[in-house]
Subunit: 294 residues, 2 copies
């Protein structure tokens, strides 16, 4: 096995997610074994077999997903924008190299075509080997998977998509450009009329200034912008936020246009997302509402 | 300084909340210094000065609150039942020895009288010394504080309260009785007609079987029962649930009868609770909805 720097975060049988992005606290997972640890051109990629959370993907020392709770993040980042759009035929996924988002997007009955742009082939390879329940997203007949830079791709693809989902790592490292104003400008250009975006949005409890700044970047290019929160226990502060933006200022992002029935939830094995939680996820605690909406 | 067993959980400057109640993961806080560590007749009581979360109260090695995020828990456990009741004049708090719940209950304009029963004087003392922003709840002119056993108290006080809030530790240790069916029977007896209860309810992500069992105990004595979830980053899995029960089967616990205005939220310095989040907190992810409501 090759080795990467992230193994240093394992001590006494625990992986400790110690990071300057969240000073003063960390989350730890008990490790059964290190399944893989490699360096790609972009990042450290480590896969752990944990004692209670299934396999876990760690990029540059940060937990991206565990098999136990990944569904919460994947379902929310997929269905918040998809169900807010009246007809999300063409979908672009930027990032999402584990395949989990593609797995969810594929389920939406109105989606006809998915393009996914992941920069790091080694993340895809790791997922295919160690996270088969997520990597099965790559088997979607609707999917065209390209290994390249999402920024560059969008410069050459204008007016093509109804929904763009950015499933990125945090603002430090290879994904930092995906939180910039110019990225939101590119997203806008790649959307067709009525388009909607959804991007990974950190956590309001940890660094609300960064959340506010990114939301403001989004607001410069999208007429209706909302911040949603989902509970994801293995992410810092136990939750993950999402920036959701619509080109159309009359969009009510908080009320889904497409509603899964209870039978659909069973059929598609949705464990987190439902129509009620879509709306509820946009209701913020006062401190966040005040900071983000003024 | 006296010493207690909980200091063993501090290593290399981090307090690690390792516990059999949540196998395979833990949350850690960076410690500036140990302010106090004593053994009472009931539990280990440790207060830490942390680097980024203010002071933290630890009972038997489990984080009860940090100054950074305690407001989320205190506001929700207080206002979920208080705002669901049309006229919560008389309120009983069982536990809550840090004073934070009393601080919030005192703010509700319809509350006239608060009785609080805390079993452990040493928790009250620690809070008064190290958590003044929570212990100020003990200064409420509405409050009568008694140091005794909540179980015993309720055996002698029938038909007295409109709302009873149980702010307890987890089901292991001194609070285990507060999750039993007989406790819910006692709560029922201590309530006046139309009464409502709210109890600390663990987390659905960790041990949903225990949540389900306690909810079922509650259902045997209350006609309308709901489970609510709040985000509290320093609790296991980053959230805390609440059992809310009403004697009256026609109660809609999810729609507050008393609505704080935006001016009220400012006046009472509410940082988490608002009318919208009251309703949203009862919307559960599918896996929890299925397990708890069938």
């Amino acid at each position: 096995m090759e080795c990467c720097d992230s193994v240093c975060l394992i001590k006494d049988g625990w992986f400790r997610e110690i990071n300057d992005m969240w000073p003063g606290h960390y989350f730890a997972l008990k490790v059964d074994s290190v399944l893989s640890c490699v360096k790609s051109d972009y990042q450290d990629i480590m896969v752990l077999k944990t004692t209670n959370h299934g396999n876990a993907l760690i990029l540059d020392g940060v937990i991206q997903c565990t098999e136990k709770d990944e569904f919460a993040y994947q379902e929310m980042i997929a269905f918040l924008p998809l169900c807010s759009h009246p007809n999300p035929e063409r979908v672009l996924i930027v990032g999402g190299g584990d395949g989990g988002v593609a797995r969810e997007v594929d389920k939406h009955p109105l989606v006809k075509k998915i393009v996914q742009i992941e920069i790091d082939q080694k993340v895809i390879d790791a997922s295919k080997k160690y996270l088969p329940n997520m990597a099965k997203g790559f088997n979607s007949s609707k999917l065209e998977l390209k290994v390249c830079d999402g920024f560059e791709y969008m410069k050459c693809h204008k007016n093509e998509f109804d929904v763009i989902i950015t499933d990125s790592t945090d603002p430090i490292g290879p994904a930092s450009a995906l939180f910039s104003e110019s990225y939101f400008s590119l997203l806008k250009g790649a959307l067709r009329s009525g388009g909607i975006i959804c991007s990974q949005g950190g956590t309001a409890w940890n660094d609300i200034e960064t959340v506010k700044k990114t939301l403001d970047h989004c607001r410069r290019h999208f007429k209706e912008v909302r911040y949603s929160i989902a509970c994801v226990p293995t992410y810092p502060t136990g939750q993950n936020g999402f920036f959701v933006g619509a080109l159309d200022g009359n969009s009510d992002l908080t009320t889904p246009k497409f509603k899964f029935t209870d039978a659909d939830l069973e059929k598609y094995e949705l464990k987190y997302y439902n129509t009620q939680i879509h709306s509820a996820s946009f209701v913020l605690p006062n401190f966040a509402r005040k900071a983000l909406y003024g």
